[in-house]
Amino acid sequence: MNKNEYLSIIEGMIFLSGDEGISVKQIGEALELSLQEVMMYVDELIHMYQKKEVKGFEIVNYGGYFKMVTLLKHKQYYQSLFKENVAKLSKSALETLAIVAYYQPITRVQIEEIRGVGCEAMVRKLCAKALIKEVGRSDAPGRPILYGVTDVFMDAFQLTSLDELPKLKEISDDFDEEDIFNTKYKEKNPNED
């Protein structure tokens, strides 16, 4: 089988997999190719799509699953074909998801500590939305459930891997014990109080 043949079949596989997507491993097993070979072909395919002049959809990699999606810039034309379907996430939901993504695996109590509010209902809801799931149990007393993000999450936020999460802003270097002690007795500004 020559290269174009492999590329064609892989293109067909990604096409068939639809919104579920397909992993390098699945393709490799079906075609009896090594992961490296599959990666090479998929990369080439993605590259070919990037160069296309007529392009109604492109190949993306969300959480290790390759799938075809239409282009953002054409959204208005497709929207007329679909019913309104934008599911909004609330600020609290986004916040909780971000915390799980950065700190996973994480217990509910740990999430609550960072958010400063109770999260029981929210955690249950995000599980029901398949955006987070149980990934194990902590060794802490009571063996609380540990949560992590899912492939549904990776897709919903267009992430290939968690390495792509926006970097958290560095805490400035001068944040050490010394400084905090030194600033403690700062004079109050009478205008401010």
Binding site: M68, T70, F82, A98, K133, A156
Partner: protein, 242 residues
């Protein structure tokens, strides 16, 4: 000070604290508990008390801030107390920093999410190829598999229903189907088309409507039917393009 505060603007008391600190142009690391405590209380007073449950979380923080402030006012004779205060203050700063870090990236999260909502894909079409080799069950199934499967179905039910969806097609009229078939043949530019090609898709109702439509089109001299011999394949041709 005229504050117009709604609890919905904040996801919790830490959010409100961060907001106040920013408003006061205060450095997080230099957090002055005394000032921020007064600000916080002023805010709380303007909150809508009807949201009692949400308010309670803000009140717990308020009580804690007041406690911190009162410790500051006490004579600083007992070193132990002093250390305790500082410890708590640092803990608070650490929490605020973590919360702030998350707040800073949330917008990016939201943008990625909203964009993705506008990028569409198709339903997987795997069933036709699916075959079975083993009868055993995988041992790594989890409830998540069921939940995400259900999510997909619901999402599809909401999203993937084109305006003229399957339901609409089931109710297709003969006139509509005639128009479709005519369009189809006008693109075939006089080629012969296997009669059965028109029936590749759809249910029985669709097939009946298609059959009747073909008869109508033939009657109206838009289509020609040809068949070489009895029981041979039936071919159709658009008459207009002859």
């Amino acid at each position: 000070m005229e504050y117009q505060v709604k609890t919905e603007e904040f996801t919790g008391p830490l959010d409100l604290l961060l907001h106040l600190i920013k408003e006061k142009n205060m450095d997080l690391l230099d957090l002055d508990v005394s000032i921020i405590c007064d600000q916080y209380l002023a805010y709380i007073e303007t909150m809508d008390p009807s949201y009692l449950e949400a308010m309670s979380e803000y009140l717990v923080m308020a009580a804690w801030l007041i406690e911190m402030k009162s410790r500051l006012l006490l004579p600083k004779e007992h070193l132990d107390e002093e250390d305790d205060y500082e410890e708590k203050r640092q803990e608070m700063i650490r929490k605020l920093i973590e919360k702030n870090q998350i707040n800073e990236v949330i917008q990016e999260f939201e943008e990625a999410y909203n964009q993705r909502q506008m990028m569409f894909s198709k339903m997987p079409t795997l069933d036709q190829f699916s075959s079975e080799v083993e009868d055993q069950l995988p041992d790594n199934l989890e409830v998540y598999d069921l939940i995400s499967a259900m999510q997909k179905i619901l999402k599809r039910k909401m999203a993937q229903s084109p305006l003229e969806s399957k339901v609409a097609r089931v109710e297709i009229s003969i006139a509509e189907r005639c128009e479709q078939i005519e369009t189809f043949f006008s693109m075939k530019k006089g080629q012969l088309v296997d009669f059965e090609d028109l029936f590749d898709e759809g249910d029985r109702y669709f097939a009946v409507v298609t059959f009747l439509s073909v008869l109508v089109l033939v009657k109206n001299q838009k289509l020609v039917i040809t068949q070489e011999e009895n029981f041979d394949r039936i071919y159709l041709k658009g008459k207009y393009y002859e």
